[in-house]
Amino acid sequence: MSSSTTLRINSATFTDELLATNDLSAYYGVRKAVGNVSIVFQRRAITALIGPSGCGKTTLLRCFNRLHELSFEARVEGTVLLDGEDIYVNDADPMAIRRRIGMVFQRPNPFPTLSIVENTMAYGGRGLTRAEKFERAERALRAAALWDEVKDKLKSSPLRLSGGQQQRLCIARAIAAEPEVLLMDEPTASLDPIATAVIEELMASLAEQFMIVAVTHNMQQAARVSDVTAFMLADETGVGRLIEVDETAKLFTKPADRRTEDYITGRFG
């Protein structure tokens, strides 16, 4: 069983759990990439997942929307609870999970054969009329601060947009599905500073509607954007472990663990 206790933030402001893991481990074949992570995410918060390269943060993120199992010989042990229900239970439908947990990827990946507006309607939406889907699309594009820039060219190819715009389109596409959780895997890693700033601003407004878990390489970004920060580190055997979770301000000023302190002060990674 788990050797670490569930790390929970002791704070009065964050009491609304939405996503939680219990003793979660992720494997690629025999290689254990993420080890025994137990963490609770709060509903109305942006949680940043930080740590040096190879610490398993992206792997962990991909366990939440069941994308990890697409990799060759990928395996998962432990539980992930969405609103109290285990998403890995035997008859769970991965697609239903993925409709409730959306994802934005490191490099913008708009669907190249669909137009901009078709991208934002790509999630499916059975039972919705075309008008309803279009309404949702417009709302999503506005929420992603992209509407004004594309409203005249909704039918054109997304490949004409700049990198930052494409990423906002991907955000719009994800939130048009109206998920409960939005996972972001280093969303600004491939963008220039201005585009990065736009998206960081966006995240704050998005957090009012969605729970956000964002993996980031950039500590300053984590400090700027998130309410809660979780720090991961690979141990001597290469297994990624969750070291510390706390409110961002506390973690960055008074980390509880020595290793966290070393990382944020730049002593390694």
Binding site: R98, M103, F111, A122, A177
Partner: protein, 284 residues
């Protein structure tokens, strides 16, 4: 000591380079010679009659390969209708289930098939569709053509699907799409230009195939649209006319060859152009 022989070595080098140039030129010249003769010998005979009329008996002037052209279109059409789904589905399987002994076995089988002489494939079609039914048919020719087209389609559709960036497919799945929807709506359309190119090239390949036709479609003197009966095919007509002793027919062989070459080249070049334009749109 090296400089002593430098002069001689330079001469050898120049001669050698010239030899290599001549060889490359020889290849290109051969192609131009073949094309040249086909055009020169064939173009005089081509006219609307030739392209649209039935063959006439020996000695009767005029006549054409209209039924052969029609037969070629019908047989290739049916072959494509059969080969495309099977090839595409197998390509999808290989792209989705990449590693493992079964996918490797399938790829091996595909390689084996691509090396089988077309006449042996004709024998297969004969054994399966002509002998049991006791008559030649255009459908058996389509069956043989399908076998010839499959390896190309399988290999290229696998490559085309694989070359769709992993992140596009994951983006689709992350939205909650089923594998089916993700493949059908997102991955396949992205791979479509490459698949169409492969299809055009496969069609170009079988347009000139003659050997399997000898005992599947067999040929005909009449207009025929029923796949269940023997049918005239242009390549077969060219063959029969070429080996005949009649100058009129031999002239028609050249003209038919002209049409074949024109069609094959148009398809090949068209395929490559289509691919290039699609690729450019991709990176816009």
């Amino acid at each position: 000591m090296r400089n002593q022989h430098l002069g001689r070595r330079r001469i050898y080098a120049t001669l050698g380079t010239l030899l290599a140039l001549c060889c490359a030129a020889l290849g290109a010249a051969a192609l131009l010679a073949i094309l040249g003769y086909v055009v020169v010998q064939g173009i005089g005979v081509i006219n609307w009659t030739f392209l649209t009329q039935l063959p006439t008996p020996v000695g009767v002037p005029g006549g054409g390969v209209g039924n052969g052209i029609l037969g070629t279109l019908i047989i290739i059409g049916i072959a494509t209708a059969m080969a495309l789904p099977i090839g595409l589905l197998t390509g999808i399987y290989l792209a989705l289930f990449g590693r493992g002994s079964i996918p490797e076995a399938l790829r091996f089988l595909s390689d084996v098939l691509s090396g089988v002489p077309s006449i042996a494939i004709g024998l297969f079609a004969y054994a399966v569709l002509v002998a049991p039914l006791k008559h030649f048919s255009a459908f058996s020719a389509s069956f043989a053509f399908m076998m010839l087209m499959l390896p190309l389609l399988v290999r290229t559709s696998e490559q085309a699907i694989r070359s769709v960036p992993q992140t596009v497919r994951e983006g689709a799945l992350a939205l909650g799409m089923s594998n089916f929807r993700a493949t059908w709506r997102i991955v396949l359309p992205t791979a479509r230009p490459a698949i169409i190119t492969a299809l055009l090239l496969a069609i170009a390949r079988v347009t000139g195939e003659t050997a399997p036709l000898l005992f599947t479609a067999f040929g005909s003197q009449f207009w025929e649209t029923n796949p269940n009966s023997p049918m005239a095919v242009l390549a077969l007509q060219v063959f029969n006319y070429a080996i005949s002793p009649y100058p009129n027919w031999q002239a028609q062989a050249w003209a038919g060859a002209f049409v074949l070459v024109f069609a094959v080249f148009a398809l090949s070049l068209g395929a490559r152009l289509a691919l290039r334009r699609a690729m450019r749109g991709f990176e816009a």
